[in-house]
Amino acid sequence: MIGVGRTKQHVNVVDRPLGKGKVEVSLSAFSFLFSELVQYSQTRVDNIAELERRLEDAGAGVGLRTLELLCHREKGNRRETRLLGILSFVHSTVWKCLFGKVADSLEKGTEHEDEYMISEKELLVNRFISVPKDMGAFNCGAFVAGVVKGVLDGAGFPARVTAHFVAVEGQARPRTTILIKFAEEVLQREARLG
């Protein structure tokens, strides 16, 4: 009955080819979707911490899947087994794929051995978002933190990941830093692997 459009039969996922990751949608579409995610989450929580947790969870789901997908597609089925490896994977591969660019910086925590920081001048998700004063230090980057956590956990580098605004002198806007604190088992393993 449909006049237009060649009728295409339903194909099960397992039979569909994996995308090459070249397809794009408009930034607006994503921004509105993300904005709605945040708004919805707000209606389900009653404090900042919970809101962050919800965003993180959403992100983690994305991260875990991205990890599998990218290692397969971009890395030719190589796994990251070392801490720095996985970090740079996040910093470059993951970022490139999801946000179209490599992250601005990846640094090692100065005071703590187990801390690493990925910083971004303007996080894609925060592009249009101004956080009202009364929400304190809340940062929608929690979603991205979740993504990172998802990747790290998935790859066997359990870590606590959080997003923070960090003021930069000479900049009107603070940048966002994703702080990664690895579980000590990870460091132990690293030590063992020498």
Partner: protein, 1208 residues
């Protein structure tokens, strides 16, 4: 093959520890423990007992650091065929343990010991410890028993003695070794192994054997050196042995020697490992293994492999270890001896365990179990069960008992190596499923085996537990028939258990917290907010921010709200039970179990049919103050008592492998967020309320006033210190007053005490119209009580004394000074029925013609002549000729089934208050006779309004009324308006007052009394014709016969007040005269009759006027004045143009006399002409009309009739 063989074991001196005589197992265990303490005896200590007979062969022995190690074989061990090959396999010593108290005949026992010793030919030293000997036994001890050692009886000495004895024992062993070595050296003992062919040796073989012997001796000496705790010497001998063995191609011994040397090396290092050592050891052991392999001494090969593996066992070297172990396992396939295979598997399992490879360990443990199960004996079954229990953990099917009891060595191994591997499989991101329930096939397999083993081993409890875990954890994967099987297994197991046995593993049903039902409102606890007078109004809970973007879900479910219980008051908890299985579950008893608090739980029993779930209400009695957690239920089911924790059910629900047992049987889905902490408060007062006399619902007629008594009793155990009554709900207006003071006076209200609080009710609007209809005849008691929220709530907030903070928990919970209070809500079930309907209220007026008479009935009359009510009804205006009486008529209909009696009472205004007090106050009520209205009848009640005239009014009014009368419209509208407005307001005020002064009280047949709410009705009735009712005419005229027959000419002016005052007395006297005179008011013709005209000024200003009198006959023709005509009436005094000034509210009397010539009826008319109306018309009227000269106002009073009788 040796269990727990390790590289170090080469230095272990093997000693058999055997029980001698009759010895209780407890004692034996005790003694053995004592002996086992002395596994290691330092050479230093041993030296004390060491006597050097000749030069010690152990040149390098380090007396200060070295030590002897024992391996105690409790219960002894069979002789190994390989003793020659490895000295540490020899049983070099025997220790007998004898418990004298239970062994009367020491002699026999000793012989028994010696007999045992015969089984250990290679034993160098024997000791038979006789503990706690009796004196008798001591003395009849003869010398001949060289190995017997009597211990002094007391305990701590015993330990000491044992120590010394062990040291002596060690020392003597050492000496024995020395001698052995010394003797072995030159001669060379015959050292053979089962592998040496016993066949006849040809010459060169014999010579080969000779050569070999040297090597073997060296090796054995090495062994002894090692045993003697001198690795260096050992090493020396071993190396020579190695060379010799290599030369002679004596593979087995070559390997043995190397092993020995490695051991020596390790021992020398004192047990501390470093990579080089490890490397060294590994390298040399591989050679060993090689040699054994070539010699096809399989068990040695494997043993060596295991030794190496155990030695290397370290996470870093996991790879190598695994390799070795796998190799060993591989090799073990060709192992002949079943027990060897068993040992191997056990060892492999242990080492894997040590490596942190639980699952591997578990796997081989299971292999072991299976090997055990192949040999069909109770003992084997037990061991099988034991081993399986160890595997349970790694298959995640542990019995909960396992967490507490870590009995077994392997268990410990697994456990202590456990921690790292645990956290490596640690936290998962929240969106992944938790790690439980899977590998079900394996779990079921193991559990099945455990069940089987347990049954075979005759261990009903384990069997029960296994079955329970199986059915609980895996029912979805178990066929119904198999489920039945398990059920029976449970039952049979239970039969063999003592009743009331506890098991740590719950079976069925699944139990889940459903909810905490709210306490009944009267038991509910109200948090107190300190510092507030109204402590019950909570601080409104605000979000974390001022502007909060978060719309909190709000706690619609009382689960999320905190639960508060009170000590000693029964509570309820709802739980979900579910039985997803194919068999019926009979729960013999189930009751709550709590954490960190005490509760007396009341068990119930319930039957769950197959595949059903049900919500069960469990109750209990909190016993201790503080916070407690209801963590689960104690359930007795299938004959065993188990605790079912709520969160476990939760886990199952969240788990993926097992489908939700509640969902699967169509149970409701509840959020698992319920595990609330319950606060238990110290005892609180408990008020119970009852309405004194009569059941809950009170039925009132509209307007009824009744006092209702409520008894408040404190049923709690602590006094009520503060209580406040408030009213809530609709229809509060029904309640006039609450006996606050009475309640407060009654405080503190101690337990058991009670107070009666009065509540004054005044029924307002009928609550429900239907009641009236429904209650026809049927009586009003059938009005349905309570449920309607319409009735007002009497809410009493009360609280007990501040609690003394006895336990810390509470302090944590709430501010100790303030225990919560309570709320007692008592619905006052008022049902107001229509009593009397006010059909209508209207004004009636009636005219009573006035007659001239000797006197005027006077305003005060009502009081003086209270005797006749009727007369008092009507307050006659003395100056009105015609009585335009105005009556307010109320028509009332009695809709009820009882009769009503109406009394109209008029509350005289302020001025009458005092005298109302003066007489007994009944004055009002008794004023009018009461009217009775039967049911379904209506009646009229008349209320005369005369007496409500205003005392006086402004001239303006006068003017206006006049103007009204004569249609004069010469008023400036503004002036009018203002005066009008004020007048209006004044009017309304008076009407208001009036209507409030009239009250219609009633008594109903059901002796209740009340008042009709008819104020509004009256008001509107009056509003219509207010003017007429309330305003007197500006001027009123009256005529009367003068008192004294002598006419008084001229006018006397006096204030009407005086008149009013004097009237009574003068009047009474007057009466007398009148009565004496016989006839009253009739006037006789042709007689000069003195008459007085009274003119009253009702305005508030003085008025000057000129009066005139006219007299008419029946024809209406004037009888006076027309001088020419034949006058029928003669007169004396002025009848015209009498100028007088009447003071405000005053009156003047103008006297004159008339003489009627003809009898008949005449009419007297008074009239007045007011000269200057202007002033009367208010100041600014002439501004209005500057040019118009003031024209006089003419005013005339009502006609008076005069009857003139002729002379008889």
């Amino acid at each position: 093959m040796e269990p727990e063989a390790s590289i170090e074991s080469a230095r272990m001196i093997r000693v058999a520890v055997v029980a001698v005589g009759n010895i209780p197992s407890a004692q034996l265990r005790d003694y053995v423990a004592l002996v086992l303490r002395h596994r290691v005896v330092s050479l230093e200590c041993a030296r004390l007992f060491y006597k050097e007979h000749q030069k010690s062969p152990f040149a390098q022995q380090s007396w200060d650091t070295g030590s002897l190690c024992f391996k105690f074989l409790v219960g002894g061990a069979p002789r190994s065929p390989w003793e020659d090959f490895q000295a540490n396999r020899k049983c070099l010593g025997v220790i007998g343990l004898m418990h004298c108290p239970t062994t009367p005949d020491i002699g026999a026992a000793y012989d028994h010991f010696m007999a045992i010793c015969r089984a250990y030919p290679s034993a160098q030293e024997k000791r038979c410890f006789a503990l706690y000997p009796t004196d008798g036994q001591v003395e009849l001890d003869e010398k001949k028993r060289q190995h017997l050692v009597m211990f002094p009886p007391d305990r701590q000495m015993l330990e000491y003695h044992l120590q010394t004895l062990m040291q002596d024992f060690a020392a003597s062993l050492l000496m024995a070794f020395e001698s052995w070595v010394l003797h072995a050296e030159p001669v060379g003992a015959i050292l053979t192994t089962p592998l040496d062919s016993q066949a006849s040796l040809n010459s060169e073989e014999v010579s080969k054997a000779k050569k070999r012997r040297l090597g073997r001796v060296q090796k054995t000496i090495g062994d002894y050196c090692l045993l003697a705790g001198s690795p260096v010497d050992a090493n020396a001998h071993y190396s020579t042995a190695i060379d010799l063995a290599r030369l002679t191609g004596d593979l087995l011994w070559h390997a043995g020697a190397i092993e020995g040397s490695v051991s020596a090396l390790v021992v020398d290092r004192g047990g501390l490992k470093d990579p080089q050592l490890e490397e060294e050891v590994r390298y040399r052991y591989l050679e060993v293994i090689q040699l054994y392999h070539r010699k096809t001494a399989l068990s040695f090969e494997l043993e060596a492999t295991l030794k190496l593996a155990r030695f290397l066992c370290r996470k870093e070297l996991a790879g190598q270890v695994v390799e070795l172990l796998m190799g060993a396992v591989e090799g073990s396939k060709t192992l002949m001896d079943a027990s060897d295979r068993l040992v191997l598997n056990v060892e492999v399992a242990r080492i894997f365990g040590a490596l942190g490879y639980e699952r591997k360990a578990a796997f081989y443990a299971r292999q072991v179990a299976q090997l055990y199960q192949q040999q069909d004996s109770c003992w084997a079954a037990m061991s099988a069960l034991q081993v399986l229990t160890l595997t349970a953990k790694s298959y995640r099917i542990q019995s909960k008992a396992a967490f507490s009891a870590r009995t077994n060595t392997l268990m410990e191994l697994l456990h202590e190596k456990d921690e790292p591997s645990r956290d490596s499989r640690g936290q998962y991101s929240s969106l992944e499923v938790g790690a439980d329930g899977q590998w079900s096939t394996l779990q079921m397999d193991i559990l099945g085996d455990m069940l089987a083993a347990a049954v075979r081993a005759g261990d009903p409890l384990s069997a029960w537990s296994a079955a329970a875990r199986l059915v609980r954890g895996h029912y979805p994967l178990i066929t119904p028939s198999a489920q039945f099987g398990l059920a029976t297994a449970l039952v049979t197991a239970a039969e063999r258990l003592p009743p009331g046995t506890r098991c740590s593993d719950p079976a069925l049903p699944f139990v889940r917290l459903h909810s905490y039902p709210r306490l009944p409102p009267e038991l509910e606890v109200v948090k107190r907010f300190p510092g507030k007078k109204e402590w019950w109004v909570g601080a409104s809970s605000v979000g974390p921010f001022i502007y909060t973007p978060f719309t909190s879900k709000g706690n619609e479910s009382e689960n999320s709200a905190e639960v508060i219980w009170v000590v000693g008051e029964p509570v309820q908890v709802l739980v979900d039970l579910s039985n997803p299985c194919a068999f019926e579950v009979y729960v013999e008893s189930i009751c709550l179990s709590v954490e960190s608090g005490e509760i007396e739980a009341f068990p119930v029993s319930v039957v769950l049919p197959p595949n059903t779930s049900q919500v069960l209400s469990l109750s209990g009695l909190p016993l201790s103050v503080g916070s407690l957690v209801v963590r689960g239920c104690i359930v007795q089911c299938f004959g065993v008592v188990t605790e079912h924790l709520f969160e476990e059910a939760g886990e199952l629900v969240s788990g993926v492998a097992i489908s939700d047992p509640f969902r699967s049987v169509g149970g409701p889905r509840v959020s698992q967020s319920v595990a609330a902490v319950v606060e238990v408060m110290p005892p609180l007062p408990l008020l119970v309320a009852e309405v004194v006399g009569g059941e809950g619902a009170v039925v009132l007629y509209e307007g009824e006033i009744r006092e209702m008594h409520i008894r408040l009793a404190n049923a709690g155990v602590v006094p009520v210190l503060e209580a406040t009554m408030t009213l809530t709900g609709k229809h509060k207006e029904h309640v006039l007053s609450l006996g606050h003071d009475i309640l407060t006076a009654a405080l503190p209200l101690f337990p058991g005490a009670s107070v009666v609080v009065p509540v004054k009710l005044k029924a307002g609007q009928p609550t429900t119209e239907v009641e009236v209809v429904g209650s026809k005849g049927a009586g009003v008691n059938n009005v349905k009580p309570a449920k309607d929220p319409a009735c007002p709530m009497l809410v009493i907030y009360y609280a007990g004394p501040p609690m003394e903070t006895r336990d810390m928990k509470t302090k944590a919970v709430i501010s100790p000074s303030l225990p919560p209070g309570r709320r007692l809500a008592l619905p006052l079930q008022l049902h107001v029925l229509r009593g009397l309907y006010l059909q209508q209220a209207r004004l009636l007026s009636m005219e009573v013609p006035a007659q001239i008479s000797r006197y005027l009935p006077d305003p005060g009359a009502c009081k003086s002549e209270a005797t006749s009510p009727t007369s008092t009804l009507v307050k006659i205006d003395p100056y009105r000729g015609s009585w335009g009486l105005l009556l307010l008529e109320l028509e009332l209909w009695n809709a009820t089934d009882v009769l009503f009696e109406i009394t109209v009472t008029v509350n005289k205004g302020k001025e009458s208050v005092d005298e109302e007090l003066a007489d007994d106050g009944m004055v009002n009520d008794s004023l009018y006779p009461s009217t009775r209205i039967d049911q379904n009848h209506s009646a009229r009640v008349l209320i005369p309004l005369e007496r409500f005239k205003l005392p006086g009014l402004e001239k303006a009014f006068l003017a206006r009324s006049l103007a009204k009368k004569y249609g004069l419209t010469k008023h400036d509208s503004k002036a009018r308006e203002s005066s009008e407005r004020q007048a209006k307001s004044e009017l309304n005020a008076t009407i208001e007052e009036l209507s409030s002064r009239i009250s219609v009280k009633w008594h109903s047949g059901r002796n209740s009394a009340g008042e009709l709410p008819i104020k509004d009705a009256i008001r509107e009735a009056l509003q219509a014709s207010a003017i007429e009712i309330l305003l007197p005419d500006p001027l009123t005229f009256g005529f009367r016969l003068a008192r004294d027959c002598r006419p008084s000419y001229g006018d006397k002016v006096k204030l009407s007040e005086d008149a009013v005052d004097e009237q009574p007395k003068s009047e009474d006297s007057e009466h007398v005269t009148v009565t004496n005179q016989g006839n009253n008011d009739s006037i006789v013709a042709q007689e000069l009759t003195p008459i007085e005209m009274l003119v009253r000024n009702n305005t508030r200003e003085a008025v000057t006027m000129s009066l005139s009198v006219t007299c008419r006959d029946v024809t209406g023709a004037s009888c006076l004045g027309s001088s020419g005509a034949k006058a029928t009436v003669l007169w004396a005094g002025a009848l015209n143009g009498v100028d007088v000034e009447v003071p405000a509210l005053g009156e003047v009397v103008h006297g004159f006399a008339l003489c009627f010539l003809v009898p008949g009826q005449y009419t007297l008319l008074g009239a007045a002409v007011i000269n200057d109306p202007d002033e009367s018309l208010g100041p600014n009227s002439n501004l209005q009309y500057p040019e118009s000269e003031p024209e006089p106002l003419y005013y005339s009073g009502p006609p008076y009739t005069v009857n003139v009788t002729g002379i008889s």
